[in-house]
């Protein structure tokens, strides 16, 4: 439909980017592609595994169906244990994350050194995965749910501590100063001036973390830290796929329900 005539007196070239901008964009893009390709090649992936992967996967699926419903009697207890590990771990975190958050928030920490310590604890806690923490606690407490509870707690401290510290840094300083000016002790200022302001955030993040922890607790058993993971790992290693599929179903149910509960409670609080 264009009539094919240019409008006299007006430029007929327009570029979205200057040549320099174009170059920069290409460099970023090619850089990303290069890094990805280099990574894949360097990993030395045996691509021929893909040749029969679909056969393997189909085979797996066939063996998984139907699930071995009778096995439910065996996994009922571990399933409840999984929930307990997540819940107790979260409760422990609730009490530890507070003081550390106060250390790690700029406006409540006593001095630079304590601030640094607080920050370091938060970073260290978050850098180490729950499962890795579990390895450590299994070595300490031996296999079982106690190791799992501590693993969950140690990983959650960083998560909750960071969010709470951020909330503390954003509080309204007015009431804090009012209480400080009455000559109250430092602890009192924290408890009366700061705490009430961040409590909603704390409740919210606790419940949010709780449902993440349910998900995490399902695999702690792989390293011996209790919960359904122990049975799951055993069944996978025995190639008892009909038991595996039942457990996957059960895990799916528990995780979805806990997510729903968590979302509902958080909606009620805020």
């Amino acid at each position: 439909m264009t009539d094919g005539t240019a409008e006299a007196g007006y430029p007929d070239i327009w570029r979205r980017f200057t040549p320099r901008q174009t170059l920069v964009r290409y460099v970023w893009f090619l850089g990303a592609v290069f890094v990805a390709v280099w990574s894949v090649r360097h990993l030395d992936i045996p691509w021929f595994y893909f040749l029969d992967a679909h056969v393997q996967a189909a085979d797996l699926a066939v063996r998984m169906i139907p699930p071995d419903w009778s096995y439910f009697d065996v996994i009922a207890r571990p399933l409840i244990e999984t929930i307990h590990i997540a819940t107790l771990g979260t409760i422990v975190t609730f009490f530890i994350a507070f003081p550390i958050a106060f250390l790690a928030a700029r406006n409540t920490t006593p001095n630079r050194l304590t601030w640094f310590i607080g920050r370091f604890i938060l970073v260290a806690s978050r850098s180490v995965n729950t499962v890795v923490w579990a390895l450590l606690f299994v070595a300490i407490f031996g296999p079982g749910p106690v190791a799992g509870i501590w693993a969950v707690a140690f990983r959650s401290i960083g998560f909750m501590g960071k969010l709470i510290a951020e909330a503390i840094e954003e509080i309204d300083e007015g009431p804090v100063e009012a209480i400080a000016s009455t000559g109250a002790s430092r602890l009192k200022v924290l408890l009366v001036g700061v705490l009430p302001q961040v409590l909603p955030v704390i409740y919210g993040t606790t419940i949010y973390r709780w449902d993440i922890n349910i998900r995490e607790s399902t695999v702690l058993g792989f390293v011996g830290a209790g919960g359904i993971g122990i049975q799951l790992y055993a069944s996978i290693n025995q190639f008892a796929w009909d038991e595996v599929s039942l457990m996957l179903l059960a895990i799916f149910g528990v995780v979805v329900i806990s997510e729903y509960v968590s979302a509902m409670v958080r909606q009620k609080i805020t």
Partner: protein
């Protein structure tokens, strides 16, 4: 040019938002559509380019029945219908030029569109239109950095980029102040006449409609109840469309939205 035949639309079964509307636009003219809120003005316009699917009836543009085209045919038909929106509907994060050029999207290949590699005649036409709407030099600004009036002028340029056979305009000035409204209307109507493009124009502002339109349609409850020249739009006709007394300046004190209009000397003068 455009023929609307018994066009109807009900969003919920039984309630007609558009009820058996028929009219014809036989020459390139600016047709203002007025009527109270909820009368079905937007629905009418959107049923023509099928952003809303009509329930019955047909819209015939230059002999082609748009209502029963398949999706490829509809896309072709939409190329020939430029649309201008109340909220401008520019792609905010794109530049002015990209927004204007997007009017040609129906004509370029995907790859050209992706690379912003439009034919030279499109680019010079875009520069010309930007100049005509008073925005020369703005081509590399992002759309979200513009004022309302500027955005609407980009919207006009985008629609005209399509070299449309029909302009569909849905309350182009409702989000603008009175002075800018008149500027935008003047640009729009001038260009429509200059390019001989028939234009359907929804508008709330009766004085603006009388001032700029060649013909006025009045709607109420989904029905077309007035069709005439601006001069024929007498007090009686307005009463018919808007109901008893509601449209008169003296009656406006009650409604704050209308109050704004009454306060504007520009518009008082325009009546």
């Amino acid at each position: 040019m455009l023929k609307i035949e018994a066009l109807s639309k009900s969003y919920t079964a039984g309630v007609a938002a558009l009820d058996n509307v028929s009219f014809e636009v036989a020459e390139p003219q600016v047709v203002a559509i007025i009527g109270p809120s909820g009368a079905g003005k937007s629905t009418l316009i959107r049923c023509i380019n099928r952003l809303v699917e009509p329930t019955a009836g047909s819209a015939i543009l230059n002999g082609e029945n748009v209502t029963n085209l398949n999706s490829a045919g509809l896309r072709k038909a939409r190329r020939r219908m430029g649309m201008i929106f109340q909220e401008y509907n520019l792609v905010e994060r794109l530049t002015v030029m990209e927004n204007v050029l997007s009017g040609r999207l129906g004509y370029v290949s995907f790859w050209q569109a992706w690379r912003r590699n439009y034919p030279p005649e499109d680019i010079s036409n875009a520069f010309k239109l930007l100049d005509r709407v008073g925005l020369s030099g703005f081509q590399d600004q992002r759309a979200d950095a513009l004022s309302g009036g500027q955005r609407q002028r980009v919207g006009i340029a985008r629609a005209l980029m399509q070299k449309p056979d029909l302009l569909l305009v849905d309350e182009p000035t409702a989000s603008l102040d009175p002075k800018t409204s008149r500027q935008v209307m003047r640009i729009l109507v001038e260009l429509a006449h200059e390019l001989s493009t028939p234009t359907l124009l929804n508008i709330h502002d009766v004085p603006l409609a009388k001032n700029f339109a060649d013909r006025v349609l009045g709607m109420q409850d989904g029905k077309l109840i007035f069709d005439g020249t601006p001069d024929e739009l007498t007090e009686d006709a307005l009463t018919l469309i808007y109901g008893e007394e509601d449209w008169k300046p003296e009656a406006k004190a009650g409604s704050p939205a209308e109050q704004e209009n009454a306060d504007s000397p520009e518009q008082a003068a325009a009546v």
